[in-house]
Amino acid sequence: MTAPHVARSVPASTSSPATRVLGGLTLSGLALLLGYALVWSPADVAQKDAVRLMYVHVPTAIVAFGACFLTTLASAMWLRRRSEGWWVLGGAAAEVGLVFTAICLLTGSIWGRPTWGTYWDWDPRITSTTLLFILLVGFLALRRIDDEAGDASQRGMRGAIVGLLLLPNVMIVHYSVDWWRSLHQTATITRLDPTIEGTMLFTLMLGIVVFGLLFAWLLVHRFRLGWLEERAGASGLDQAIVERRAEAGVAVATGGPA
C-alpha cells in the first residue's frame, strides 16, 4: 500500500534552502571572527586593543562600498531596461548598504576617540562617507515620493539618477586619503605590500569574507521582500480596480454617478 499523497506545504517566507545554508555559514563565520577579533589576534603596538575595532569598521566599509556599486549598476540597468528585477535589486542593495554605511560611520567614530582623541572630524574620508550615507537616504526617499501626477516612471528616473552618483562618490571616498590631507592612513590592504600582516591580516580578511556573506544573505532576503512588496502592491491595485469597477457597475445599474 502506498502512502497517500500529501501536498508539500510551501513556507510563506523569504527564505529558501540556499539562504538557510548561507545563513548557517555566516553565523559560523561570525563566531570564528569574534574569536579572532576579540581574543586570538594580538593588540597593536600603537593602538593597543582599540585595533580590534578595525575588524568590524573596515569590513563594513568595504561591504557598504560594494552595495553602492551594486546600486549604481542596478540603477543604470533599470534606466536601460526598465525591468522590475533591476528596480527591486537597486532598492535592496541601497537599503542594506545604508545599514552598513551607518555602522561604518558609527564604529569609525568610536574607534576615532581612543586613536585620534575625537569622535568626529570633518576629515575628507569621513565627510565623503557621510555624503554617501546622505545619497543613499536620498536614493531610497526619491523612490518612494510620487509627483503630483503619480508618475512612477518619473519617480524611478529621479531615484536612478541619484543611484548613478553613488559609485563616483565611492571612488572619492577611496582616494580622498591620497587627494587631501586626512586623519585616515593611506591604503592598508589594497596595496601590493600590505602594512599589516600575520594574524591581524588574516582576521581582517576573515572579517571581509564574513561581513560579505552577511551582506549576501541580507541582500537576498531584502530582494525577495522587495519582490513581495511589488507583488502585494500590484495585487492590491488589481483588487482596488475590481472593487471600483464593481461599484461603478452598481452605480450605473441604479442610475447613480459612475
Partner: protein, 47 residues
Amino acid sequence: MVAMTHIGYVAAGWAIALVSLAAYALRTVRRGRSLAMRVPPEERRWT
C-alpha cells in the same frame, strides 16, 4: 592574563554593529513572512 585596553570602545563598537545588523535582519525576515502570506505561492519563485 593581560587586561584588555579600551574595552568600552571595543565592546560598544562591536555591540552596535551586531545588534543593528541582527535587528535589521529580524525586521526583514518578519516583514517577508507577513507579506509572503498575502502573495500567492506561484509568485514566490524561490520556494
